[in-house]
């Protein structure tokens, strides 16, 4: 719904995302603040935004395959691992520049994703979810049993460089990560309103009718997996060169579960929902980290570091609350808020 007084005079305007000069003003100032942030923000917050941005890229991918196309995937952490390892191997062993390794990691993860997504051609829902869990373990097993991945020891990729400039701190990586995140958000948002996005939603809402509209189910499901895993792969590459150490401990099924949780809490099928979901879970995790020492002191029988289990409990609780009370996620709340704000002071 449009705010009162805003009418679309052409189809071009109707389909535009950014419609008024106020929107442009808000967008540009927000970007300005974001890009200047490392100059005045604390190290802690800069690292936090790096982490958020990488998670956002992963969950954007998940939004495409699960939120839009309706194919539930618990493989996102494994596909991220494929990206992280591809990027590390390419830069360390083959001397490929990070700037080339970044898209190649996405493509590699996408290719693995097509294989991983193949079961979706035959099975749906719960069974597909189980199949993707199996794929997660196969990928991690393969990584652990290959020579080139450094097996249990993992790999130590270098920070990216341009000319002589090294992106060797969180503040410096911030610019790369945030830029990639913005580009990929832009891409996902556009994909959603394009022919391909509608084909994905057609498959999600009614695959029978989708076929009658001429949507090739096989092709489009695999395309959704490819794009989704491309996102995960790119995120993995950024992660690898930010942390500069890669091992399979960073990509467990629990991480995959967390990404699905972010998607559900944020809201399926919505791009702002991805941001809400990631922010919610990441802040929750920070709060748990913050609270657990105090808790350990207050309730000694919990052990010396209850953070791990407390985190799981908080996550599980949040998931349950959202599934029961707001299964459409924070994005839906946000829509309700927006439309009531626009209609204020009228009720409808």
């Amino acid at each position: 719904m449009r705010p009162c007084g805003v009418f679309d005079k052409s189809y071009a305007l109707d389909i535009a995302i950014i419609r008024t000069w106020q929107h442009w003003a808000i967008l540009i100032s927000a970007l300005l603040v974001l890009y200047l942030f490392p100059l005045f923000g604390s190290y802690y917050l800069v690292s936090f935004i790096n982490l958020l941005s990488i998670s956002i890229i992963v969950v954007l991918g998940l939004q495409i395959v699960s939120g839009l196309c309706g194919q539930i995937s618990f493989g996102q952490a494994a596909f991220m691992a494929v990206g992280a390892y591809t990027s590390s191997i390419l830069t360390i062993r083959y001397g490929v520049s990070f700037w080339l390794a970044l898209p190649l990691s996405g493509i590699m993860a996408g290719a693995v994703g097509i294989i991983g997504g193949a079961p979706s051609l035959r099975i749906k829902g719960m069974y597909l979810a189980m199949a993707t869990i199996a794929i997660h373990f196969v990928v991690i097993w393969l990584i652990l049993h290959m020579q080139i991945t450094g097996s249990f020891k993992g790999l130590y990729p270098m920070p990216p460089t341009i000319g002589g400039f090294e992106f060797d701190s969180d503040e410096r990586m911030f610019y790369i990560i945030v830029t990639v995140m913005i580009i990929m958000t832009y891409g996902a948002r556009n994909l959603m309103r394009s022919k391909v996005g509608r084909a994905f939603v057609a498959i999600r809402d009614n695959d029978l009718a989708g076929e009658v509209m001429g949507v090739n189910l096989y092709y489009n499901k695999l395309l959704a997996f490819f794009i989704s895993c491309f996102y995960a792969g790119v995120a993995g590459s950024l992660w690898a060169h930010l942390i500069t150490v890669v091992n399979t401990e960073q990509f467990t099924l629990l991480h995959a579960l967390e990404y699905v949780g972010m998607l559900i809490i944020g809201g399926m099928g919505s791009i702002p929902g991805v941001f809400f979901g990631v922010l919610f879970i990441r802040i929750l995790n920070e709060l748990v980290m913050f609270a657990s020492p105090a808790l350990a002191k207050a309730v000694p029988w919990l052990g010396s570091s209850p953070a791990a289990s407390l985190g799981l409990i908080a996550f599980g609780l949040a998931m349950a609350v959202f599934l029961v009370f707001e299964p459409r996620g924070l994005a839906h709340r946000w829509e309700i808020f927006k439309s009531s704000y626009r209609l204020y002071p009228f009720a409808h």
Binding site: R193, K195, V201, A202, N206, L217
Partner: protein, 261 residues
Amino acid sequence: MNHLNSEDEAVIRIQRLSLKFGGLQALSDVSVDIRSGKILAIIGPNGAGKTCFLNCINGFYHPYEGEILYRERDLTRLKPHQIASLGIARTFQNIELFSGLTALDNLMSARHIHMRRGALLGCLFFGPTRREEIAHRERVEEVIDLLEMASIRKKTVGSLPYGQRKKVDLARALCMDPSILLLDEPMAGMNVEEKEDMARFILDVYELKKIPIVLIEHDMDVVMDICQRIVVLDFGRKLAEGRPQEVKDNERVIRAYLGEE
């Protein structure tokens, strides 16, 4: 005379179509020509095989015998999406819409087969992709005007009343710019007023596009009014075929509908 001939050309020839589910013979030996520029009604009691007949044409079911020739091409081994891209559009008895989308997006999704820009250009969404999107939006808006749907354009279809959803289903099929339109009980469950509207829309579409329309319908009054030919199915067999009046007076049809006396 020439004009008449081209109107009578068979666009789809269905020959000796037979379909089985386990022991159940859903269709046996059905031969029908779908002719250009005609509205063909398919009638018959419940379970006669009418929907199965459409499902064979658009590729959901594959008959074990017989062929469906569309411009000399056999459709029986093609997938539904391939048949759709040949321009064969249909609606569903039980309304199969994309319920989470707005009416407009439902219709835009029907432009799928006509749109060329793939995923990569879709992500960028300026220049050619944007122009394509707007061009197709214009085509969709024409259908919205034709079916008087402007007021529900931006409504989520899941929230629309039954009659409106039926209309979106028809509109979506039209947005494919089809060369043949298959309608499975478009008026079922509607009140008299909605039925009249729907009949009018079907006639409008027919006048405007001059494409063959296959209409499955139970309401004999409607069928008599708007169709030029009628095929009667019963227990998967073709019982009769002909002009409305002929079929209405046919002994066997009367018996099938009213039972043996």
